[in-house]
């Protein structure tokens, strides 16, 4: 499907700070502070990975279902104008994935224990073709597209991430939804052996993690099923092997490591809304005018920040995707349906 974006959100590739430049500065600062500035130089001579436009080395053991798709991938199918891509290191080491712990570093520390192969997804409910599908079968029919999206967390920080995936709408179409399909419900894998929080007594969350979208939101061309990022397969802490990315909603809507997709008639249970309904709604559209009861949503910290650059910026309506998605919510009171 062709995605029409206004000129304002077109970006020149030259406007993105190249990752090695950014990383080498960080490394230089670190080395200089430690009094060994000379060690900064090897960082500049980083090997390029032929398969992707990013200077992030791909792991050797990427699965064939992914590497087979890479040569035909459509790079920069959607871009962000004038905003630097978040460094890979930050996007993979500053995560909310509560199954692995409440701290931002916990997912990177623990998620590698999650087995992501083989992986299968149950598609059920109001569809003509329900069943349990292997990940390979789910990905196979689709061409991978790179979508560079803003990611805005409800905690008022944000990143810019180059995802690789295919529209959720195409996956749903293949399952042939029937008349009763009004909403789509998603569920994350529930693996207590690999997920410390599922064994914790202090976690308030009722596992498994669940999320949902209205049918028109799910079918919207911006809504992505991601299997990769930065030209490589998803890291477990980022929701490998299959996750949702809904760029105009707060990050918690973009559910990770999906094992179940149900097309349903009623608005489905969603985890954060159940935990604190006065704080998190079903829609969770990024909206600078509707504050979280405990903090303002008017502005955000674009990561990475540092001691000298706090990078606080205004949050955009629908996270900057208002032209594409505002019509979905025409006539709705967004203060009530937050």
């Amino acid at each position: 499907m062709l995605i029409r974006l206004p000129n304002a959100s077109r970006c020149l590739p030259s406007e993105i700070t190249p990752e090695p430049v950014y990383l080498s500065r960080r490394r230089f600062m670190a080395a200089a502070a430690a009094g060994v500035a000379g060690s900064a130089l090897p960082g500049l001579a980083r090997a390029r990975d032929a398969a992707s436009p990013y200077d992030v080395p791909a792991p050797d053991d990427q699965p064939a279902w992914f590497t087979d798709k890479l040569p035909q991938a459509q790079w920069k199918a959607v871009d962000v104008r004038g905003e630097a891509i978040t460094p890979f290191q930050d996007a993979t080491h500053y995560n909310n994935f509560y199954e692995f712990g409440p701290d931002k570093g916990d997912p990177a520390d623990h998620a590698s224990a999650m087995p992501t192969e083989p992986w299968s997804v149950v598609i059920e409910g109001a569809v003509a073709k329900p069943g349990t599908y292997s990940l390979e079968d789910l990905v196979q029919p689709h061409r991978l597209e790179e979508r560079i999206y803003r990611l805005r967390c409800v905690e008022a920080w944000s990143m810019v991430i180059p995802w690789l995936g295919f529209p959720l709408g195409k996956l749903i179409e293949r399952a042939e939804p029937t008349a009763g399909a009004k909403y789509v419900a998603f569920q994350t894998a529930q693996l207590p052996e690999a997920m410390p929080a599922l064994r914790s007594r202090f976690s308030l969350i009722d596992w498994p993690y669940r999320e949902g979208l209205r049918m028109d939101e799910a079918m919207h061309p911006l809504t992505l099923m991601a299997v990769g990022m930065y030209g490589r397969v998803l890291e477990p802490q980022n929701g490998a092997p299959l996750r949702l990315v809904v760029p105009w909603k707060y990050g918690f809507k973009s559910i990770k490591s999906i094992v179940r997709i149900s097309l349903v008639e009623q608005q489905p249970y969603t985890t954060w809304q159940d935990l604190a309904p006065q704080e998190y709604g079903f829609y969770a559209n990024v909206n600078p005018q509707v504050d979280h009861p405990r903090w303002s949503q008017a502005r955000e910290r674009r990561l990475p920040t540092n001691l000298f650059s706090t990078n606080v910026r205004d949050t955009l309506m629908f996270n900057g995707y208002a032209d594409e998605v505002a019509s979905l919510y025409q006539g709705m009171d967004l203060r009530r349906y937050y």
Binding site: A33, Y94, S200, R294, P304, V312
Partner: protein, 213 residues
């Protein structure tokens, strides 16, 4: 004053911790959002120092070592210093030094109001922590400094309202705070004082260190 080495060690330890955090932020060891990490650590640091300050009296009752009381003012002032740094880091990294934003937050956010009240309580105690104020206020000084218990309650509430889903750490601080409060009940504090060995330290002498802080 006795115990110069002990007092010096406490001073250096309390000073070294935030300096180390700053160094970590400088070398990018705090991740992509160092400002938020500093805000959280300084806030929890202030809470821990508050709990330590409140632990000094029970420790003294139980051990009759005079060194505990000798670092009380210092730890209290360190708690206030951490709270000031916490506030400054919040203004800088979370609000981006936007004054209009601060006004709105102060009006609209209960956890900011509660945090600000706790800071005002600490400020009151800090500016009356000198000898001159103690003499000036006389009996009222001890009464005034009982607001420390209110500050502990406000600080715990402030933190509870920031937690998103995992309350384990908060429960730990809460339990420690509750335990320190319980130890001040006459029933328990008398028992603690009886733990003292030897004839030194009559109940009367012990009374002048309790429950002032």
């Amino acid at each position: 004053m006795k115990h110069p080495v002990w007092r010096g060690a406490v001073f250096l330890a309390a000073l070294a911790v935030p300096l180390y955090w700053l160094y970590q932020a400088w070398i990018f060891a705090l991740g992509p959002d160092p400002g938020k990490v500093l805000v959280d650590r300084l806030g929890q640091g202030a809470l821990v120092l508050l709990l330590l300050t409140l632990a000094l009296s029970p420790l003294q009752w139980a051990t009759r070592w005079s060194g505990w009381a000798q670092v009380r003012r210092q730890l209290g002032l360190w708690c206030f210093s951490y709270a000031c740094l916490h506030l400054m880091a919040y203004l800088m990294f979370i609000l981006g030094l936007d004054a209009s934003q601060l006004g709105r937050e102060l009006v609209e956010r209960p956890y900011i109001i509660v945090g600000a009240l706790a800071w005002l309580g600490l400020l009151t105690m800090a500016i009356t922590s000198n000898r001159w104020s103690m003499r000036r206020l006389g009996r009222g000084w001890k009464k005034l400094h009982r607001i420390v218990y209110g500050v502990l309650g406000l600080a715990l509430l402030h933190m509870l309202w920031v937690v998103r889903s995992d309350i384990g750490l908060w429960l730990l601080y809460f339990s420690l705070g509750a335990a320190l409060m319980l130890l001040r009940l006459p029933l328990l504090s008398q028992r603690l004082k009886r733990l003292r060995r030897g004839p030194i330290g009559s109940p009367r002498r012990a009374a002048d260190t309790s429950p002032g802080a």
